[in-house]
Amino acid sequence: MKFPIIILTAICAVVSQGGQAHGPLPVPLIGVPIPPVPGLTDGPAPIVVNKPMAIALGKALFWDVNVGSDGVACASCHFHAGADNRVKNQLNPGTLKPHPDNQFDRLSSGQGGPNHTLNADDFPLVQYKNPFDKTSGRISNTDDVVASSGTFSGRFTGVSAFSGSNDNCQRSADSVFNVNGIGTRLVEPRNAPTMINAVFNHRSFWDGRGNNIFNGSNSWGDRDPDAGVWVQVNRRTVRKQALHLENSALASQAVATALSQLEMTCANRSIADIGRKLLQRKPLQYQKVHHEDSVFAPLNLTTSSASQLQPGLSTTYKDMVRAAFASKYWSNTGRGAFGAPVSGGLAYTQMEANFSMFFGLAIQLYESTLVSDQAPIDTALRDPDSYKPIGLTESERRGQEVFTESHCNLCHAGPAMTTAAIVSNSMLVTPTPNAFFGPDHSLRAFGPNAMGKELVDMAKDAGITEIPSIVMRDVTRNPSGQKLIDFGFFNTGVGDPENDPGLGGVDDFGKPLSFTAQYVQYLLGNYSEVKDRAVKHVHSCQFLTPLAWDLGFDFDFPAFFTLSADRQVDGSREGLAEISLRSKSCQDPAYAFIPTVAAATAAFNNPNDQKFAQGSKAAFKIPTLRNIELTGPYMHNGSMATLEQVIEFYARGGNFDNSNQSDFLTRTPMSNNPQKRADLLAFLKTFTDDRVRYEQAPFDHPELIVPNGHQGDDQFVESGHPLASALAKESFLLIPAVGANGKIDPVEPFLAP
């Protein structure tokens, strides 16, 4: 009875080893549901009572340079197709290393370090004699990262509530980021990914530290027991309550970024202090707003006209918060209960204390509108049966086959082109009456065939099933074989795994970022160590490769819990209802087991036992491929400038072989076939939405002035910045305001001439 399953599994393994195409097809994003956030705008007591106003508030906060301590907005690193194409002062020396040397390297161009201007000669940061053959020898390498320059930072002492962009901070030259001792802006340790379509990601940031659950205070979701928001429970009582908003990783991300001392802020500054700075002010106080702005104009919030663009909106942040959010979050008029600034001064008001919630949720609602679903891959005619995009050009169609046969589709799966889009991917493969997605001429029903149809279920091949899965067991490179890993994350060997722990890092409480590490604690029976509630509901039968496996007979495989005495039915620790839930949407019903606590403990304590091997170290969130043509530089460390370099990277099977690397990295049959690579490149460009290319609604925006390196170069800068004499004078990039109809000149790829 069980043999056919084992044989089928073996056949699948052989098929995949042979490089045969399988897994989901790239599908349209049109009509794909945004992950729902229960209680945000619906239910008996919604937090947001005026969604258009909340979106407008979010757009203003995202683009407003007053949010940062020294002129840095969220948008300062997300202004170019949602990414950052600046080339000057964009290097970080690898500060995420456990013991960083804080030394900048000389890049291939012969230059480098703070205030270096990147050029084509610098890329890729890791180079091989023959870019298609790893054995040809590495000719350059660095732990430096191409990212985004942020703030000068400093120590926050106060700020005007009405005027001026810059906070009062005690600023001095940084010991790492300086040229000849003259301070330059600090640079982040990871590349800024696009926020367009980021709403589909289950967690935010490359390492997933932007929790799926927003707690109203910070990025840690349920991990922070002290987080919460102040609620006026009735007219005379205000109380701090925990908040647990699902699918709100963008809010978790926003509040963390605003408080990053590399990205936006001075030290000792809270989001309540940002609220205190902004609430009385006009949003976008010093930035021109287009008279046809797609968000502000319909709400009559802009004072601009066709003949003259004006700075600022015709309201204050305070009024926008009051209009957008339920009054119980801001109506208390007292002080004293809500904490006080570290830097001194009056205690916070309720509106200031809850500003982290307003800030996070408003930005999340704005970013939720940034869905690019009008690319050729979305609008192309599709075969009604196979759902292949037959409307694409011949080269693009061939490129799609290369994409699939190279197994790109097993990670870059679903309409958002990433398995990190956990919730919407699952919704799409769930049969739902009258639910369709795709363009009108090629509608596709929600259900198991949503992402294609073959002998085996195509979405399931990538781990996508009806029930959202947050932990996976998958095959990584030998010798270690099967590993547990957070679904939507993988190690591809882009950088030296010692350079950046990625998902293998820890949170502010010293606990592992990964869900996987918590799942192991769950299996060990250490339930108090499981902080993220969803980890208690992992369905083991959805694993691509099993953990505990009922073979039908007792035979001890070292990689699995196969002995009947060692396993129990998954969900049996919780009860019958959970058993029934966890036996649904299985890769194989024989996988619906977990080890007993005793067996799990024995395996965990045995250093030679690999059953609990985890692939979190140097694993990163699988990014979307949408608009990838425009969002370079690529990878978490910005180490590749062009898509050609990315394709070379995959063709040679990655840069740094390590045991956590995805097994499929070794099977990308492109290295000896320039035609395949050219076709793949053409296919990748079908993910570009022209509305993104021309910044048409909803991708239009206010004016933005972005710090763009310092006067001088990587050898010499000039001191005497207005903020502090020890800092370098800087240059700026002016990004003009754009209205709903977009602009004439297209957004160009990174380093385009």
Binding site: S160, A161, F162, R235, R236, Q280, T316, T333, L346
Partner: protein, 237 residues
């Protein structure tokens, strides 16, 4: 002192005098007020119509929670003394600064307590309170912001309202809300009810990023420099 210097000194005095009205313009100020009045009517469902066991007491608290050296407030209150009459209650706050910044916050809380002290179960009172209110918020000067809050609730919050007027130098420097409302409730023998009217006037001001005295010093030192320069030129020529 030669005549040139004297002339320059006169000029400086004239220019400085001309600038003074401008420094007065840099004043930032706000005023905010809540004025409300109420009247109470009551009936006894008991055939005798007797209201002798209905007790109504009121109590006002005014709290200057945050004050600056220049802010002030006023509060007026007519104590409840009988049914059918109109009683007025008000709270007003203001601040005015020529330089620096300030925050001031004033609160008042009027509690009207009702109790049916009768031991006769037939004594059931139908009580109605009618009230009207005016919230006024006004700012002048470069950076000023004021919020005026008025909220009212009963003991178990089936009456629970909040009204906010907001004036700001950034948008509308004047805001006024005029409205009326009422609340009816039943008080059986031995029952209590409280109604709370809470007012708040809060204001935040900033007169100038560069304080005016500093601006004057800059001006004067600039003038002195100018005089010195002109004096040297005169000697050279």
């Amino acid at each position: 002192m030669n005549s040139l210097k004297r002339n320059s000194g006169y000029m400086a005095a004239i220019v400085l005098a001309a600038c003074l009205p401008q420094s007065a313009l840099a004043l930032s100020q706000y005023t905010g007020s809540v004025d409300f009045s109420y009247s109470i009517t009551a009936n006894n469902r008991n055939a005798n119509g007797n209201l002798q066991f209905l007790s109504i007491t009121d109590f006002l608290v005014v709290i200057p929670a945050v004050e600056s050296s220049s802010s002030s407030y006023s509060s007026s209150y007519q104590e409840f003394s009988g049914l059918g009459e109109l009683y007025s209650v008000s709270l007003a706050g203001q601040d005015s600064i020529a330089f620096g910044n300030s925050i001031s916050e004033y609160f008042s809380d009027l509690k009207i307590g009702f109790s049916n002290n009768s031991h006769d179960l037939d004594d059931i009172y139908d009580i109605r309170i009618e009230f009207n209110y005016t919230l006024t918020a006004q700012t002048t000067g470069r950076f000023a912001d004021t919020d005026v809050f008025f909220s009212y609730s009963n003991e178990n919050f089936n009456l629970d309202e909040l009204v906010v007027a907001h004036a700001s130098s950034e948008t509308n420097s004047f805001d006024q809300i005029v409205n009326s409302d009422s609340f009816s409730f039943v008080l059986a023998a031995g029952e209590l009810e409280n109604i709370y009217f809470q007012s708040a006037v809060v204001g935040q001001l900033e007169a100038s990023v560069v304080p005016i005295p500093a601006a004057i010093w800059l001006f004067v030192s600039g003038m002195v420099g100018l005089i010195g320069l002109r004096s040297k030129q005169s000697i050279r020529s």
